[in-house]
C-alpha cells in the first residue's frame, strides 16, 4: 500500500511538472516534451494502481501501460510532423511568433 501511494504521488507531481512545462516554455519542441512527461507519468500512475499487495501486480495494468505507450508514440509522431511543418512556414519554433490566430 505504501508503494502504491508513493508512486501515485510521484505520478501526480510529474503531471504537474509536465503542465508547468507546457504552460511556461516558449519552444514548441519543449511543449511536446511536456506532453511526453504527462504521458509517462500517467503510465506510471496506471502501474501504481496495479499494485494490489506486496509482490503482486495486476497484469491488466501492465497490458494497459504497454498499449498506452504505443498510443503516446503515435501522438508524438503526429506532433513532430506538425512541428516540422510549423518550422517550414515560420523558420522558428518560438511560440511568440505563432500568434497570428487570435480569438
Amino acid at each position: 500500500m505504501f508503494l502504491q501511494i508513493f508512486y501515485a504521488n510521484i505520478a501526480l507531481i510529474l503531471i504537474l511538472i509536465g503542465l508547468y512545462c507546457i504552460a511556461s516554455k516558449r519552444n514548441l519542441l519543449k511543449i511536446i516534451i511536456g506532453i511526453e512527461i504527462i504521458t509517462v507519468s500517467v503510465n506510471l500512475n496506471i502501474l501504481a494502481m496495479g499494485l494490489r499487495e506486496a509482490e503482486y501486480v495486476d497484469p491488466l495494468a501492465q497490458e494497459m501501460t504497454i498499449i498506452s505507450i504505443a498510443i503516446g508514440a503515435a501522438v508524438a509522431a503526429i506532433a513532430l510532423c506538425i512541428l516540422l511543418n510549423v518550422f517550414r512556414h515560420y523558420k522558428t519554433l518560438d511560440t511568440r511568433k505563432l500568434k497570428r490566430l487570435r480569438w
Binding site: 504527462i38 500512475n45 497484469p59 503526429i78 506538425i82 510549423v86 505563432l98 490566430l101
Partner: protein, 521 residues
Amino acid sequence: MYALFPIIVLLGSGLSIPLISMIFRKLGKEKIRDIWAVLAFALSTAYFAYIILYEKLPISYKIELEPSWASIGIKIDAFSAYMSLIFSFLGLVVSIYSIGYMESETGLDEYYTLLLTLVAGMIGVTIVNDLFTLYVLWELMCVSSYTLVSFRKHRWEAVEAGFKYLVMSTIGSLIALYSISLLYGIAGTLEFSKLGEIILSNTNSIPKDTIYFIIAMVIAGFGVTAAIVPFHTWLPDAHPAAPSSISAMLSGVVIKTGAFAIFKILFTVFYPTHFGYGGILILFGLLTMTVANVMVIPQRDIKRFLAYSSIANMGYIMLGLGVATYIAYNYSARLDIVSLALLGSLFHILNHAIGKGLLFLGAGCFIHEAKTRDLAKLEGIGVKMPFSALSFSIGLLNLAGIPPLSGFWSKFFIIMAMLAFLEDPFLYVSTIIFVLNIFVAAGYYIWLLQRISLKKPSEILSKVTETKLSMLIPILVLASLCILITIFLDPVLKVIAEPVNVLVGTTISNIKTNLILGGGV
C-alpha cells in the same frame, strides 16, 4: 463477428484505400477510391439503421482471450446505436460531398483513409464495454482528426491550428486517462457493467472527495473535445483551417463524441441519483452558451461564425445533461422529468449534427465558388446560388429554433424540464439565462440568413454560379432531413426514447411525447 461488423468494414476499407488507389490509378479510374469510401460508410449506416429498427438491443459480443482479464467486450445498446447512426450517416454525406469538393487537392488517399479511421474511432468509442478500450479508440479518433485539421499543410493557418488542437486535445485525453487509471485503482476493473455497482457499494470506504475529483477529471478531460468553455479555444481555430468537409465532421460529430463519453461515464459509472454534480454541469452549460453567443457577434469569417455557434450548441447539450443529473440528485422521485431533459439533450445532438453539418457543407460551397470566407464579400451570394442558399437557410432556421422546425422542439424539451421545478431558484435563474441565449442565437442566425440570401450581390461575385451536382446533393439531402424530422417528429422521438431509457436505466417508456406536443404538429 456480428457486432464488430461496422468497425471491421470502416477500418478495413480505410486501410485498403492506398492499395485500391494504386491499382485503379494505373487503369485511369481514380474515382473508384472515392466510391469505395462512400460504400463503406453506406454499409455502416445501413447496419445501424437496421439494428435500430429490427434488432433486439443490446447486442453483446466478447472477444475471449486466454487470461480472462484480457478479454474485450463489445456491447451495442440503444444509445450507442443511435449515436453511431448519426456518426456514420454524417460520414456518408461528407464522403459524397468530398468527391466534388476535394477534387483539386493532393493527398486524397490519406484523406479518405483518415476520414474512415476517424469514423471508425468514433463508432468504436460508442460500442466498447470498458473504459480503457474506450480510451484507445478515442485516441484513434483524435489522431485522425489532428491530421485532418492540418491536412492543407501548405497553409500556415492549418498547421498552426493543428498544433494548437493537438496540444490541447492531448492534454485533455491524458487527463481523462489519468481519471480512468484512478477508477481502475479504486475498482480493480474497468468494465462499465461492473464499475457502477462497485463504486456504489464502496461509497463508505472510498472518500467522497476522491470520487468528485475523478468526476471533475472526466468532465475536464473529455470536455476538451466537447468544447466546454474554459477548454474551447482550439475549436474556432481548427474549424476554419480544416477543409469544409472536415469542419462539418468536427462540428457535427467529433465534439458530440466528447459529449457522448461524458454522458456515458456519468450515467453508467457515477449514478446521478447518488452524486450531486448536476449543478456544476448546469453552470458549465450556461457559461459555454453565454460566452459563445457573445463571441459569435464580432466574427466576420463565415466558418469562425459557425464554429462559435457550435460551441453555443454544445452548451445547450451540456445544459440538458446538467438539468437531468441535477433533478435526478435533488428530486430523485421525478425520473420522468429527468428523461424529458435527456430526451431534449439527445434530440439536440441529432438536430445539431444534421443542422451544423448542413451549414458547414453549405458554407463550403460558397467558399469553393467565391474563394473567400469574408462575410462582407459573401453578401448576397444566395442570388447566384439559389439551391445552396435555400438549403443553408433551412439549416439556419432549424438551428435558430423557429417553431415548426425540429431545432425548436429539442430546446423546448429542455426548457419544459427546467420549468417543472420553478420553485427551485437555481433552475429558475438558469431558465431565464437559457431563454435569453436562445433569443440572441436566433437573432444572429436570422442576421446571417439575411446577409447571405436576401442582399444584393456585390461586384466580386459576378462570376459565381451554382455549384456542381455532387456537392449539391448532400446539402439537399441534409436540408430535406431537417424538414423530414419535423414532419415525422413522433416516430423520431420514439427512437430517441430508447437511448434515454438505457441511460436512465428504468423502463419508463411512457415519456408521453403526444401529451407534451399537445397535437401541435
